[in-house]
Subunit: 211 residues, 2 copies
């Protein structure tokens, strides 16, 4: 599908400003549809319609659906990790960690628990069918876990948590509580179980408080 | 699609022994494919091939894919709830609860974390696109949660857990830890994060031990 298409554009479309705009419009539409309908329930025609692109424009940027899926995983991973880094880097108290929890639960409540976590959803749909997607998503979850572990290690260094706390295990447990919370909230169409799941993990972390 | 089909069978196929066998073969194949490939990635043709049924046999039992999905949710829910009821009803100690955890993590380790929880996977794929599926899966998760809450309430009644323990919140948190653990294990293709997630939830429950 490389070379020219009906409108006279060439393969270099990728490198022009207009080409980059088209590419980003395709990724945005795919990201939204994957989030709301799911990856496998979304067709390339759905994405073309939503992004107002022609068949040849789409193929010029993404030779197949898998290439587009990989681009969406990349963009979503960077978005979530950037958001989490922003929210976690200033946390220096257990109250600060509760505010991180509140922000996540409040966003989830605004959509009545629907749609869950974009990364968790893609991981469940793709991990056993496309190794490259699984590896990329697993790397993102590890980076997310690392942000939580670093935060807990900082709290320990600041003397907020005792030496007995194990930031590594607590970070994994906290991310699992978050993901399990998203899943139960999506099924209930209610963010309440997500709040309860995170509260249990944070209560456990509180049990290592020095105060 | 009711009435007769090419092989001369009638709509009453559902009520004959052979009809019931065919129906159960279709559901078994669909259940396995949904678990391994995902619901949306599985076509009716995949299911026909795997279950060795003709198009008319399939349509005789299930007018469309959604009807088959609802049947698989029903069968899977009953299987999981029955298994959990068997495993949890005899739990009268915290060590017993750890054995329940070990059985789940060991099964997951046998498949290197792959595939996750059949119910969790279907919930993520279906909750925002089919209300009947969402409602059925939400009901199953609530029944599963209820089995955990009843177990924790029993431990409290037996004096294993203190009066300060809240079985309802702990039951929700434990199910979320399990589901989040399944999700991270599926992404990592390694059951380790599932074990860590459940251990954190059980450590928290242990903190209410009277002993």
């Amino acid at each position: 599908m490389s070379g020219s298409n009906g409108s006279g554009e060439t393969a270099e479309i990728r490198h022009t400003a207009r080409g980059l705009q088209t590419r980003s419009r395709i990724i945005d539409s795919a990201q939204q549809l994957f989030y709301i309908k799911g990856v496998n329930a979304t067709t390339l025609d759905d994405i073309r319609l939503a992004s107002k692109t022609s068949k040849s424009q789409l193929y010029n940027h993404f030779p197949d659906k898998l290439a587009l899926i990989h681009a969406v995983i990349d963009v979503t991973s960077r978005f979530v990790l950037n958001r989490e880094e922003q929210r976690l880097r200033g946390v220096r108290t257990l109250a600060g960690l509760r505010r991180w929890r509140d922000a996540l639960v409040q966003s989830n409540a605004l959509q009545d628990g629907s749609y869950g976590c974009a990364l968790g959803g893609m991981s469940i749909e793709l991990s056993d069918v496309d190794e490259r997607s699984r590896a990329a998503l697993s790397e993102t979850f590890q980076a997310w876990e690392r942000l939580l572990i670093d935060t807990l290690a900082r709290l320990q260094k600041l003397g907020v948590l005792t030496k007995e706390a194990n930031p590594t295990a607590l970070g994994t447990g906290l991310l699992a509580a978050l993901q399990g919370g998203y899943l139960l909230a999506q099924s209930a169409h209610n963010s309440k179980p997500m709040g309860i799941a995170l509260d249990m993990a944070l209560d456990h972390i509180d049990s290592f408080a020095t105060g």
